[in-house]
């Protein structure tokens, strides 16, 4: 099952500006970035404003809004994308409850039907 694996275990990392966390695509194939949505990221019950996130994949750093128009580049099924959060410092080695919702819109389905991945994990910041 892919829908409960959207957070990659062991990937919560404290940074000087905040933290990063790895996420996985909840689908069986590579999809264009235009079909990817990150709909929720919560740490210890607090929502991270989505407009402040950066999505790092394929060696590039983008905002979620920028993903919406990228059709020629895909998220491969075995790759971890790294969400970068600024202004939310985490103590190194501290434990946190992290919740994420990542949705995909399979591009061969008319009508924009979404498949939603959702998981909450207790994670230690590295």
């Amino acid at each position: 099952m892919m829908f409960d694996k959207v957070i990659d275990p062991g990937t919560l990392v404290s940074t000087p500006e905040g933290f990063t966390i790895g996420i996985r695509i909840p689908w069986y194939r590579a999809l264009p970035l235009s079909t990817i949505e990150v709909n929720l990221l919560k740490v210890d019950g607090q929502e991270i404003p989505l407009e402040t996130l950066f999505f790092n994949l394929n060696g590039k750093r983008r905002t979620l809004v920028e993903l919406e128009t990228i059709v020629d580049e895909t998220w491969f099924i075995t790759d971890t994308a790294v969400l970068e959060v600024m202004g939310y410092p985490l103590e190194p080695s501290s434990e946190h409850e992290v919740e994420a919702v990542v949705a995909v819109r399979p591009p061969y389905l008319k009508g924009g039907m979404r498949r939603v991945g959702h998981i909450t994990r207790i994670m230690k910041a590295n």
Binding site: M1, M2, F3, K5, R24, Y28, R29, A30, L31, P32, S34, T35, E68, T69, V71, T74, F76, I77, T78, R105, P107, Y108, L109, K110, G112, V116
Partner: protein, 331 residues
């Protein structure tokens, strides 16, 4: 009537979890199929297995061909996609869709697949236009007849009529047995229960599924019903996928398109303790395909990975055992 010759194989799609969870890389996944004797047929979904697809480099093609030589498997079918809605709020034009799929036909040829699976969203006119390319490259284009379509649905009939006009041996069909199911797989009901969908909701959804009514309307009808009983949206949203993955039609329907059947998706969700598939009647299915003189591969396609973390290799091994038994009983 030709003498049937049914061969077995696997699609790597059955091992989606093993690949997604990075238990095997692509090459080791193929080796594992061979090691466990789950071939000889090997089906692959282009966008699942090949990074950068539909671009296939010379190096990628050479490595794949070496892997095939090493394992002794036979490439049967490459799954391609009609990603008409890859942009938000925009549908690909006819010409864009043709070009998008032409690239994938070329990829199939370069990788050495004799058949590809295309999706109905491609549209009959795009496929009509692509038939000469398929002929030039020696790749047969198979429309997957997938739930909730039946072979008589107007959207499938449009292809059948175009095929009759075109009369190309490179245009065919790929039956998917989710579209001739007899009930909802138990693994799905277990999943709903694990998500705390109430039992009476499950019962109602299964009853709706069995109703002889417009299967394309069942999703919306269910959601309206769920709203009426104030079922939370998050629970209601889990259920209607059963109306898209499974549908009913008489098994004898497959005979109508048998001469144009270029490959088969042996869709299944599990073989029970008695050695039978509760949701797809493989005893009946295999009899129909023997009667119809089908000569080709059936890819065992376990799709339970969408709702379960059970081992895909064990599932496919049990499916092969069941198919071998049924084939032997009908010899």
């Amino acid at each position: 009537m030709t003498q049937a010759d049914i061969k077995l194989g696997s699609t790597l799609y059955a091992f989606t979890n093993e690949f997604h969870q990075r238990k095997y890389n692509f090459e080791d996944l193929v080796r594992e199929v061979a090691k466990r004797n789950l071939g000889p047929g090997l089906e692959v979904v282009g966008f699942q297995s090949f990074r950068g697809f539909p671009t296939v480099s010379d190096d990628t093609a050479a490595r794949f061909k070496n892997l095939i030589a090493e394992t002794g498997l036979t490439p049967t079918c490459l799954g391609i996609n009609a990603d008409n809605w890859n942009r938000r709020d925009y549908t690909m034009s006819h010409q864009e869709s043709v070009e998008y799929q032409a690239l994938q036909i070329k990829a199939a040829a370069k990788l050495g697949f004799p058949v590809l699976r295309y999706q109905y969203a491609a549209g009959p006119e795009a496929i009509r236009e692509l038939a000469p390319l398929a002929e030039d490259l020696g790749v047969k284009l198979g429309l997957e007849v997938h739930a909730p379509h039946s072979i008589n649905h107007p959207e499938v009939m449009a292809y059948r009529e175009m095929y009759a006009q075109t009369n190309s041996p490179y245009l065919g069909f790929i039956p998917d047995f989710g579209s001739s199911a007899r009930t909802i797989p138990p693994i799905y009901l277990q999943y709903f229960r694990s998500r705390n969908v109430p039992e009476d909701v499950i019962t109602h959804a299964v009853a709706m599924w069995h109703e002889d009514s417009d299967r394309f309307a069942k999703r919306v009808n269910f959601l309206e019903w769920a709203k009426g009983i104030n079922l939370p949206d998050s629970l209601a949203a889990e259920v209607p996928i059963i109306f898209g993955l499974f549908s009913q039609q008489p098994l004898s329907n497959w005979l109508e398109i048998m001469p144009q059947t270029v490959h088969v998706h042996g869709k299944f969700y599990g073989v029970d303790e008695s050695g039978e598939d509760p949701s797809m009647d493989y005893n009946g299915i295999i009899k129909v395909f023997l009667e119809g003189g089908y000569r080709g591969y059936i890819s065992s396609e376990w799709e339970g990975h969408q709702v379960s973390d059970e081992d895909g290799f064990e599932k496919v091994a049990r499916h092969h055992q069941m198919l071998f038994r049924i084939l032997a009983e009908n010899r």
